[in-house]
């Protein structure tokens, strides 16, 4: 187990290093105009050169890269250039992460609380009205572009049930709509997968045997079917939870939530190299950690899996 973890960690660090170096180099290909903003039109060429030299953008790429890694090992991701001038990147990311984690976790919990039971009930009453209703809901959520129903919820449903349109941290009511919006999609997908795995499980021989032996339907459902059906879901759970940190771009911008959603896009648009590098580092780390945790969790819930021999469960 430990050996397996050590090996996975080494691979991860190498992957991170490659990703960061590529992104770092690509950022240096951006046009100079983006760093100058509105002043580009008015500065003389000499003044522009002085300005860009002071930003360190005229050093050779390898020197810039070396400086970046030296600072990184001291835990310094640098300061923002054009997104929030002179503010440490770590502070920017930390401030915003709190909001995204809050809403993300809330949405994950809400969607598990609603989605998983919905999937179970749909499997249990397969073909009946509840199953049809659930399927209808899933089809709508998958087929209609999310932006459309988010906007509908914000514009119409908010006034219909008297909830604020925009998030305000001092008003608990303003948490409700964004949370619901964030959970709508995951509820559908949890319900859909849960139902599928349950139905698969219900058709297996050992269930038929248990029924023949006279085990109660309740015991079959909760002791056998649910547990086995939940295993494939468990694998992606850590990644799902971790990725709540990155925030939901559209919901956060619609409801004015000051989270991480869209931060990467903003930083790229504003050519803020330091913020982009910091975010890429955070996001890639999250992805890698999520995958490792998923594997571990699988090993825990499914005793048949042994890590280290065949390595990854995938």
């Amino acid at each position: 187990m430990l050996k397996y973890l050590a090996k996975r960690m080494a691979q991860s660090i190498l992957t991170l290093f490659i990703i960061i170096t590529i992104v770092f180099s690509l950022l240096r290909l951006m046009p100079d105009e983006g760093y100058l903003g509105a002043a580009a039109e008015k500065m003389s060429t000499e003044q522009q050169e002085v300005y860009l030299t002071n930003l360190g953008l005229r050093d050779p790429l390898l020197v810039q890269l070396k400086n970046f890694y030296v600072n990184l090992f001291q835990g310094d991701l640098g300061e923002s250039i054009t997104y929030r001038t002179d503010v440490p990147v770590v502070d920017i990311i930390a401030d915003k992460m709190i909001y995204s984690i809050l809403f993300g976790l809330g949405a994950v919990v809400l969607s598990l609380l609603v989605g998983v039971p919905l999937g179970i009930l749909m499997a249990q009453f397969k073909g009946r009205w509840l199953d049809r209703l659930g399927t209808g809901y899933i089809v709508i959520i998958v087929a209609v572009p999310a932006m459309v129903y988010f906007l509908m919820i914000q514009m119409y449903i908010s006034s219909w049930i008297g909830l604020p349109m925009l998030f305000d941290e001092y008003n608990p009511k303003s948490f409700i709509l964004p949370l619901i919006c964030m959970a709508l999609g995951p509820i559908a997908s949890y319900a859909m997968w849960m139902r599928r795995y349950m139905v698969d499980e219900l058709n297996k021989d050992y269930i038929k045997l248990a029924r023949a032996k006279g085990v109660t339907e309740r015991t079959i459902m909760f002791r056998h079917v649910m547990r086995n059906a939940f295993i494939p879901m468990a694998q992606y759970l850590p990644a799902t939870i971790l990725f709540t940190i990155t925030g939901s771009i559209y919901i956060e911008s619609l409801f004015s939530i000051p989270g991480m959603g869209g931060l990467l896009v903003d930083a790229i648009q504003r050519q803020d190299n330091n913020v982009v590098q910091g975010l890429v580092l955070v996001f890639s780390s999250l992805g890698i950690i999520g995958l490792i945790l998923g594997d571990l969790l699988m090993a825990i819930v499914d005793p048949r899996i042994k890590l280290g021999k065949g390595d990854s469960v995938r």
């Binding site: 509105a38 002043a39 500065m43 002085v50 001038t85 002179d86 919990v109 349109m165 001092y170």
Partner: protein
């Protein structure tokens, strides 16, 4: 399983409880004696409070309300004392002396007094701006001061040699590179704003990153500054002119989709000002409950024009050499000049009152004046200002003359490369309209307009500056109160269309501009500039098109109460404005505008006496 879910549910409840803490802000509308509060949503976040660094309009808008400069303007655009109470200059306007207002205070984010505002603060501010390592993006304006550019480039290292001195605590002297009669208007820029040197040294790189790392001497203090969330300004109780500050609180809520949600929030009474995009304007103008709350927005002083390129560098497949020969023929240029239907192009942006934004000159009207007579109405510019350039008959005549003159020298149809920024759908639409309109009017036997979608980022550096166009829609904003500010794009060294390369040109425009620049007496000076601009347009090196701004808003502010200044930052001040009981309708706006224009002409005439 149940147990786990219960734990998760409890955690969730805790999290929710934790965020609804009650350290909420006070002074909301529910208070008795209701303070005036202005609320709005915005989508363009500011990146810094450091006014000595920024050159972005939305950052000026914040800084202007937190820090005062030496001068400001009244609602008609006449200079008023700010932190300077009086001033004088020598004969050629190259040395300016200011008396600083005594008793003005620097306060911290809690409104506690920190220091007096003194002359040295203006020296410290300029020192910071001109120090290249501080990466100020308005340093280029400050180079009007003697040795400013040399200090920025590192040729001069002793700031004592730069032309700004505190003669004593309340006397400030600027020595400029040369005669600058319009210097007073340049002081409306943030690079000439004061800063408390001791505080700046103490905060270092962190200056202006938070509301705590900032000192205030203006009409407002930042009560809250959370980027991508909210910004709240409250009235500064120690402000020297606090009686003229009528709005007590200004609340900006960030929303990335502000354009979409603002109209709805306005209808619900949750905000007091919103832009109304053209996509929903029709519905608003027809609905009983909405038509009286929407009005036109004021124009700004960005000038838009189509520039014809004399140094084409685009791909060989579009025959740049062919274009070069054609564009050097005046009749060919005039055929485009009179052939362009600017109204139909403007309809892509402003379907209701397109003529409101059309401009016949490069310098917009109401920019500067001579004794109440607007600059654009000075001869010989007057004839151009008063006539629409679009004229089918003239376009046809010039086309004929050009075809005759260019026969055998040019391959017809001439390919006209017309680029646009692919990041702007409006610009893309407009380019298509221009293509069809010009080709239909002048004939495909004569021109073939080739649209080219330029990159959304770095458009200017990729397309305009390298000259990859035949004709391009471009713009320019003014930097001070003098017509010379609108000549920069077209004089030698400009990065627009290089008219100096036109055949038989003999640096004519540059000579006219130089002659105007050395004239100190305003009336004579403006006349010379008017002559230069008339030449530029008459030769059809450019086709004046429009001014910026416009659009529609629903707002409880009266735009004619705000400080009027076509450049710099004072027009962004809330000082002097109050919140209306109900939003202005378009009829009210029109009549208020008419009254304002009349009053302004009188005020200007009085001021010049």
């Amino acid at each position: 399983m149940k147990k786990y879910l219960l734990v998760l549910a409890c955690m969730f409840a805790l999290v929710l409880a934790a965020c609804s803490d009650d350290s909420a802000d006070s002074g909301t509308a529910g208070d008795s004696g209701k303070p005036q509060e202005y609320r709005t949503v915005y989508s363009g976040e500011i990146k810094t409070l450091n006014y000595l660094k920024t050159s972005e309009t939305n950052e000026f808008a914040v800084a202007a309300n937190l820090v005062d400069g030496l001068i400001e303007y009244d609602e008609y655009g006449i200079v008023k004392p700010g932190l300077a109470t009086e001033w004088e200059h020598n004969d050629d306007a190259s040395v300016w002396t200011f008396k600083i207002r005594e008793g003005a205070k620097w306060v911290d984010h809690e409104g506690k007094e920190v220091a007096d505002v003194v002359a040295q603060d203006f020296v410290d501010g300029l020192n910071y701006v001109l120090d290249a390592k501080n990466e100020s993006s308005t340093a280029w304006i400050a180079t009007v001061v003697k040795n400013g550019d040399a200090f920025y480039n590192g040729e001069v290292t002793d700031f004592q040699q730069v032309g700004v001195k505190a003669l004593d605590d309340y006397t400030l002297e600027y020595t400029l590179e040369g005669s600058t009669p319009y210097f007073l208007s340049m002081l409306n820029y943030v690079c000439f704003f004061p800063v408390n040197g001791a505080f700046l040294a103490e905060t270092g790189e962190a200056f202006g990153t938070t509301r705590e790392n900032f000192l205030y001497n203006g009409s407002y203090i930042l009560d809250k500054f959370e980027p991508q969330n909210e910004r709240v300004l409250v009235k500064n109780k120690t402000y020297w002119d606090k009686d003229n500050v009528k709005i007590d609180r200004i609340r900006y809520k960030y929303n990335k989709e502000a354009a979409t949600v603002a109209p709805e929030l306005f209808l619900r009474g949750e905000i007091d000002g919103a832009s109304i995009p053209t996509s929903i304007l029709d519905e608003w103008l027809k609905a009983e409950d909405k038509k009286d709350v929407v009005r036109q927005n004021t124009n700004n002083f960005y000038t838009y024009f189509y520039a014809l390129n004399f140094d084409p560098q685009f791909d060989a497949e579009f025959a740049p050499e062919n274009w070069k020969v054609a564009v050097n023929n005046k009749d060919f240029r005039k055929s485009l000049f009179h052939g362009l239907d600017r109204i139909s192009a403007m309809l892509t942006m402003e379907p209701y009152n397109p003529e409101n934004l059309i401009s016949n000159t490069i310098t917009p009207k109401n920019f500067v004046d001579v004794a109440g007579v607007d600059y654009t109405l000075l001869a010989p510019l007057k004839a151009i200002s008063e006539n629409d350039s679009f004229n089918k008959e003239l376009a046809a005549q010039h086309k004929e003359a050009a075809m005759k003159a260019l026969e055998g020298k040019v391959t017809f149809p001439v390919k006209v490369v017309l680029p646009y920024n692919s990041g702007s759908p409006e610009w893309a639409n407009r380019s298509q309209v221009v293509e069809q309109q010009l080709e239909n009017l002048l004939g495909k036997d004569y021109i073939d307009v080739e649209l080219y979608a330029g990159p959304a980022t770095g458009f200017l550096g990729e397309v305009r500056r390298p000259g990859k166009f035949s004709m391009i829609e471009a713009n320019w904003g003014p930097d001070f109160a003098d017509p010379s500010t609108y000549t920069d794009p077209f004089t030698v060294g400009g990065t627009y269309n290089k008219p100096e390369l036109a055949e038989g040109y003999n640096a004519e425009y540059d000579k006219l501009v130089e002659a105007a620049k050395v004239e100190v007496e305003p009336a004579k000076r403006y006349e010379l500039f008017a002559k230069a601009e008339a030449f530029l347009i008459e030769e059809a090196f450019v086709i004046p098109y429009a001014v910026g701004g416009g659009g529609y808003v629903a707002s409880k502010l009266n735009p004619f109460e705000s400080q009027y200044s076509p450049f710099g930052v004072t027009s962004e001040k809330f000082k002097g404005q109050s919140i209306l009981e109900k939003p202005m309708s378009n009829e009210e706006y029109e009549s208020a505008k008419e009254a304002w224009e009349k009053e302004r002409a009188e005020a200007l005439a009085n001021a010049s006496k």
